[in-house]
């Protein structure tokens, strides 16, 4: 079966529907599936619920889908870098569900692993726990969190073979591996596409079973959000 598609538009063909839930990998602008996000924007699909740690920035990442008002709800842990997000939220045009970052990651991991709920001590005694079941284990209180799955997961990887086995690079890994497991359909954009056998099987981060479609992204911006350097000592 061929998983390789020639561009981001064809890789998403037939998958997008108004009102659907999409998981999008990345932390800040690091490791985001930028060509797939641009193709989702171009498709015009709307009423989306997006599950992503952040909301991009103005003009980049998921910020693109906010500009075109394609998003009605976000499930995220931190959205502080996006001014448009703040404006839309304050006008009531956008709903937000904040999750602690580790709870968000674990909800997605659980979703992909067939675990409907779990107990965590994160957020006990805070707004996050309101309305949720609290249970005591070994003398400590834990809050029950439900797992998350999505209609579609879009992820970014450094390298893939045609089977869909993925390798990520440095901190661009972040949410991508867990999201790849939690999409009913998962589409991966990859920087390098190689033949089966060209990746050492011991070094594969995401086995190909989790990846339905692959697109080789040849022109990526990979913008840096906070360029920070130190001086050379001469």
């Amino acid at each position: 079966m061929n998983k390789i598609y020639c561009d981001a538009h064809s890789a998403l063909a037939g998958l997008l529907q108004n009102g659907m839930t999409i998981m999008s990998g990345g932390f800040g602008l690091c490791g985001i599936p930028e060509t797939l996000v641009a193709a989702i924007r171009d498709s015009g699909v709307s009423g989306l619920t997006l599950i992503s740690n952040n909301a991009g920035i103005d003009g980049a990442g998921l910020g693109l889908l906010l500009e075109t008002r394609q998003v009605c709800k976000m499930i995220s842990s931190y959205v502080g870098e996006n001014q448009l997000f703040a404006d839309l939220y304050l006008k009531g045009e956008l709903e937000i569900e904040f999750n602690p970052q580790g709870t968000l990651a674990e909800r997605i991991r659980a979703g992909g692993a067939g675990i409907p709920a779990f107990f965590t001590k994160t957020g006990v005694g805070t707004l996050v726990a309101e309305g949720k079941e609290i249970r005591e284990f070994d003398g400590d209180s834990y809050v029950m969190e439900r797992s998350l799955v999505a209609d579609l997961a879009v992820v970014h990887a450094w390298k893939a073979d045609s089977e869909g086995n993925l390798v990520y690079r440095k901190t661009a890994r972040n949410f991508n591996p867990v999201m790849a497991t939690a999409g009913r359909i998962t589409v991966a954009e990859v920087e390098h596409l190689v033949e089966p056998g060209a990746i050492d099987p011991d070094q594969i981060h995401t086995p190909g079973i989790f990846v339905d479609r692959i697109v080789h992204a040849t022109s990526l911006e990979k913008r840096i959000e906070q360029r920070t350097v130190r001086k050379r000592d001469n």
Binding site: F27, G28, L29, C30, G31, N53, S76, S77, Y78, V79, G80, E81, A86, Y89, L90, I96, F98, P100, Q101, G102, T103, L104, A105, E106, I108, R109, T120, K121, T122, G123, V124, G125, T126, L127, V128, W158, Y168, R169, K170, T171, A172, R173, N174, F175, N176, P177, V178, H205, K222, R223, I224, E225, Q226, R227, T228, V229, R230, R232
Partner: protein, 213 residues
């Protein structure tokens, strides 16, 4: 004289021990990495998926795939490992990180912490703060003693909590406090800062370590 930001960071760094795994928050806590005591090695964790965080890169060597939790470009070390967000918070929630040093808006005398939300204003989100304070073995808050002359060390937090009863130590520009089940104790004063001044600027009730008055 109260402590400068660098002096506060240096005081916090004195809490680190050889072999510690440490998570530093954004702001003054980031400065702690400049004051790791000589002769000890600690590994810095960045919750976006890295252990063994190196210094900022030289100009021209920035890598868009290599950032810290503040989205700044950084570098790797020979000890570095990378992992996904679920494993990163597994090591945080699972109690494998020795110390978390982070900022705060308010800390209460019972160890409650508020640092993520001011109702009525745009809320940015808690990021990883709730996981860190719930799971890391020891939580040290590094913050200015007051904000616009209002105390930040309170009897009870008035802002929505990040964690309940989670803070073990508070280092401010005026001194150092410990918090345990018995309550809050002032254990150090910044040089030349009178106890009376600390009392005036603190709403929380606190004991004073013997010999410190």
């Amino acid at each position: 004289m109260s402590w400068s930001r660098d002096e506060m960071a240096s005081r916090a760094a004195a809490e680190l021990k050889d072999g510690y795994y440490v998570n530093l928050g954004i702001g003054i806590p980031t400065l702690v990495s400049n004051f790791i005591p000589p002769g000890i090695t600690v590994q810095l964790q960045s919750e976006n998926g890295m252990l063994g965080m190196g210094p900022f890169p030289f100009e021209g060597e920035e890598d868009p795939d290599l950032i810290n939790a503040g989205k700044q470009t950084i570098t790797e070390l020979p000890s570095t490992s990378y992992f996904d967000s679920a494993q990163s918070f597994g090591m945080i929630r699972g109690g494998h990180i020795d110390v978390s040093i982070l900022g705060a808006m308010q800390v209460a005398e019972n160890g409650d912490l508020a640092n993520w939300m001011i109702p009525g204003r745009m809320v940015k989100g808690m990021g990883g703060a709730m996981d860190l304070v719930a799971g890391v073995k020891r939580v040290i808050v590094l913050m200015e003693h007051t904000a616009r002359n209002e105390p930040k060390l309170l009897r009870r937090c008035t802002l929505p909590l990040t964690g309940k009863g989670v803070v073990d130590m508070v280092i401010t520009d005026l001194g150092v406090f410990t918090i345990d089940p018995e309550g809050m104790t002032l254990t150090e004063r910044a040089p030349g800062v009178a106890l009376e001044k600390i009392r005036q600027r603190t709403e929380a009730s606190f004991a004073v370590r013997s010999g410190l008055a």
